[in-house]
């Protein structure tokens, strides 16, 4: 069977969608088709991938307009009567073809205060934690850094507030640290100020595209927003914190 893929070709200077008809077979995913096109018709087609199993978060793209992992998008789930469009993520600067410059994300992460554990619980330097207490954080730690949530968030995508807002991926990251049972660091102030959590108006677009099915908004962003609000408006909590020295 044949199908046509309309793939973005070009760089920061400009480009266009180009159509590539190619042979497709049972079980194929979009990344397979892109690879076939690369090896048969367009040797220099730029694309990132590593695991081909939804584990590394390298192959993010916009397929028929939706941010998805190319390696986890089955052709059988797409209408193949029409060309399948494959475009690079829009929220980041284009390098070439399907590859974007995601370095901003790595820079943002560095600005979030690192993990700071409480002193060990046992003399051998280890800690005790109940499984039930870590499950919430384990959910966030499933993140494969595909940056699809960043791509879809209107604050970055439309408003381009990259310097004021760290985006859903990094709220999830901050939440994983803040809710880590051993962590003693405090990140609430910068979440509100420099990291711009207030710009998020809980549209939940990020949650909908997350391939790891992390409930970004309900489980990470909203609880963080609550912490920010508590801190700012609740003088009693504030007083207690000062007294406790935390």
């Amino acid at each position: 069977m044949k199908a046509t893929f309309s793939i973005w070709r070009g760089d920061a200077q400009g480009g266009a969608f180009r159509d590539y008809p190619t042979e497709v077979s049972e079980g194929m995913v979009v990344l397979d088709a892109v690879h076939r096109i690369q090896s048969e018709q367009a040797g220099d087609l730029a694309v990132r991938w590593n695991c081909k199993a939804g584990k590394c978060g390298s192959c993010s793209a916009e397929i028929n307009g939706l941010p998805r992992l190319m390696c986890m998008t089955r052709l059988s789930d797409l209408p193949l009567e029409n060309p399948v469009t494959v475009a690079p993520m829009k929220a980041f600067p284009l390098l070439r073809d399907l590859v974007t410059d995601v370095s901003w994300n790595f820079a943002v992460k560095k600005r979030i205060k690192k993990f700071k554990p409480r002193p060990p619980d046992a003399p051998d330097g280890t800690w005790r934690m109940a499984q039930a207490d870590i499950e919430r954080v384990q959910e966030f730690r499933k993140c494969i850094e595909c940056f699809l949530c960043q791509d879809v968030c209107h604050v970055l995508r439309e408003h381009q507030l990259h310097d004021k807002f760290i985006g859903p991926r990094f709220f999830t990251y901050a939440a994983a640290l803040e809710m880590h049972p051993l962590d003693t660091e405090d990140r609430v102030e910068e979440l509100k100020e420099a990291q711009g959590i207030g710009f998020c108006n809980i549209t939940k677009c990020c949650t909908r595209v997350c391939p790891e099915e992390i409930n970004i908004t309900d489980n990470a962003i909203i609880p963080l927003k609550e912490r920010v609000v508590d801190r700012v408006y609740d003088p009693l909590t504030r007083l207690l914190r000062i007294l406790r020295g935390s």
């Binding site: 079980g27 194929m28 199993a53 790595f106 993990f115 800690w127 934690m129 384990q138």
Partner: protein, 592 residues
């Protein structure tokens, strides 16, 4: 540090803590190295689940698994230091699954006598790489993402720098360095069916070889018994051994658990005598012995090949892996499977329309890991080239003829740490070497040669594919003298054609160019595998020859190394294994 998987990151953290300035170069983005894909867990004798475990048992298991070709000193250091390296990850923020009393939970895995793998569901590698990455970025390590090293530079005997290109623009870069750690991973792209990504083209192996270092144990390529076989596009993708650790069983088309029919003598005493005992073992019964599904990978892979060849395979040329059967044993089986093996559940549902809580999987062997690599000193991880270190999958020694599952992630931590510390020391104690302009010019010429105008050269993807097919057929799971000799000949032809490849496009993010350069390395490592395999005239561990199916005790006495001869041709040599100290021998005896 060349490579940002577990080994490279751990080495970088160690070296930068030692106060030297560290640069980290990697082909992909940070956090995307192979380590991220590891599923099952990290082997370390923490003895949290079974107090009978200790470094001694882990040591003996590793040696038995490696058929005693391992560097025994590495196996000893590894078993002793792995627990500390795992606990350290926890101190850096990793959240492993917990025991009832709140400590790190450990799971069963093939060849490990007791539950030993610290894990997070079936995404342990992600937890590990993210923890190291997040620790590393706060240490002032300079990271060069999407840069590929294509040559090492030397000043006399010692290394003094590395040379490479960046993917984004195709600019050429020189990295001067007082010491270099190779942590580039494996060679799986030399085969057609593989669980490995595009990165695994044996770059570190080839870089070291070109720089005059020795490669050891290259005949030992691990074929993991359970890769996906259907649909074709997912062929080779890994199905973690954790499935079997949680009670999954392997069945042929007759519904028989065929592994019970063929248990190697040296594992008989440790293997369950019936299905019931095997099940009890997976559920933590300490009086039970492990089911044969958890025998070493080389053995399980060969048994699968036999079932398929003898006509008892599954419809798509594999066998069946069944975890759904535990519904008969556990009322909440569906939940248990989803909780313990979430990414397997997801992977099969999404990619193969198989619900593993209800249906059997089809699986078959896939190229997974290379035991062979740069020959290094056990304590320091330095190769035979001064200043050039290697750690992780691209180094040899720890695993001998066969690696146990879980022993790679621990290898990365233990020897990454050691390599980082000793490389830092090496660099600090000596003046940096001088870069020789001629070497630099030659490296640049070679890197850009695929852009030269050429007549009727083939495209690089096609040659790579031919190479993969050839290696799969001629130097695969079951080997034969005549076929391997043919492989060596065909490699010579492929080398000539690879030197003539034609590519389209320019230097900016051009995968055809990258593939053309990677191809050179694949050819070097493929030749090393084929020549070493020819030299080992017996079957042992992952190396199986159907013309010489028996182990030969004479071959237990040495490792095979290859290095470049003065004439540029590959030389094969035997290196005697030093005598093991009595204390270690005693441990092995006691654990028999």
């Amino acid at each position: 540090m060349i490579g940002a998987g577990g080994a490279g990151l751990r080495a970088a953290i160690e070296a930068s803590s030692a106060g030297v300035s560290v640069g980290l170069v990697c082909k992909s983005l940070l956090g995307k190295a192979h380590t991220v894909m590891a599923e099952g867990g990290i082997a370390a004798a923490l003895a949290n689940v079974d107090e009978r475990d200790s470094w001694k048992v882990h040591f003996a298991d590793t040696m038995r698994g490696g058929q005693y070709l391992n560097n025994w000193r590495m196996a000893e250091l590894h078993a002793k230091e792995a627990p500390d390296r795992v606990r350290e990850l926890e101190a850096w923020g990793a959240l492993f699954d917990r025991t009832k009393d709140g400590r790190i939970l450990q799971r069963n895995f093939g060849g490990h006598r007791y539950p030993r793998l610290a894990h997070v569901g079936d995404r342990t590698g992600l937890e590990m790489i993210r923890t190291l990455q997040d620790q590393g970025i706060h240490q002032g390590i300079e990271v060069h993402m999407e840069c590929t090293v294509v040559a090492l530079l030397k000043d006399g005997e010692r290394v003094c720098g590395a040379f490479g290109y960046d993917r984004e623009k195709g600019l050429l870069h020189l990295y001067r360095a007082g010491a270099i750690v190779l942590a580039t991973g494996g060679i799986g792209r030399a085969y057609e069916i593989t669980s490995n990504s595009w990165e695994y083209t044996g770059d570190g192996h080839a870089l070291a070889y070109d720089a005059g270092a020795e490669l050891m144990d290259m005949e030992f390529v691990q074929f993991h018994p359970t890769g996906m076989v259907w649909p074709p596009s997912v062929q080779g993708i890994l199905v973690t051994e954790g499935v079997r650790g949680e009670g999954g069983v392997l069945l042929n088309s007759k519904g028989r658990r065929f592994l019970f029919d063929d248990i190697p003598d040296n594992y008989k005493a440790q293997t369950a005598s019936d299905e019931e005992e095997g099940w009890r073992y997976t559920q933590g019964d300490k009086s039970a012995r492990r089911p044969p599904e958890l025998l070493t990978r080389d053995h399980v892979a060969r048994c699968i090949v036999r079932e398929v060849r003898e006509g008892r395979g599954s419809p798509h040329g594999g066998v069946f892996l069944d975890i759904a059967w535990i519904r008969k044993k556990l009322p909440n089986a569906e939940e248990v499977i989803k909780k313990k093996l979430p990414s397997m559940y997801h992977q099969f549902l999404k990619l193969a329309d198989v619900d593993i809580t209800k249906q059997q999987m089809e699986v078959g062997p896939t190229t997974h890991y290379v035991m062979g690599g740069v020959r290094v000193d056990a304590e320091t991880q330095m190769s035979t080239v001064p200043g050039l270190f290697a750690a992780g999958e691209c180094a040899a020694g720890l695993h001998g003829a066969n690696r146990l599952g879980g022993n790679s992630l621990s290898d990365l931590l233990v020897f990454g740490q050691r390599a980082g510390a000793h490389a830092a020391r090496f660099a600090r104690e000596r003046r940096a070497g001088e870069v020789d302009q001629r070497q630099l010019d030659e490296a640049a010429r070679r890197a850009l040669s695929p852009f030269e105008e050429r007549g009727d050269g083939t495209g690089p993807y096609r040659i790579q594919h031919e190479l993969q097919k050839m290696m799969q057929n001629l130097v695969g799971i079951v080997r034969r003298e005549s076929e391997m000799a043919r492989a060596v000949e065909e490699l010579a032809g492929l080398r000539r054609r690879a030197a003539q490849v034609r590519i389209d496009g320019n230097r900016s993010y051009n995968p055809a160019w990258h593939t053309a350069l990677d191809l050179q390395n694949l050819i070097v490592v493929s030749e090393a595998v084929a020549r070493s395999a020819l030299e080992r005239k017996e079957s042992r561990g992952a190396h199986f020859r159907d013309d010489l199916p028996k182990q030969d005790p004479a071959f237990a006495k040495f490792n095979i190394v290859v290095k470049r001869g003065a004439d540029g041709a590959m030389r094969v040599e035997r290196r005697p294994i030093p005598e093991m100290p009595t204390e270690l021998k005693k441990i092995i005896e006691e654990m028999k």
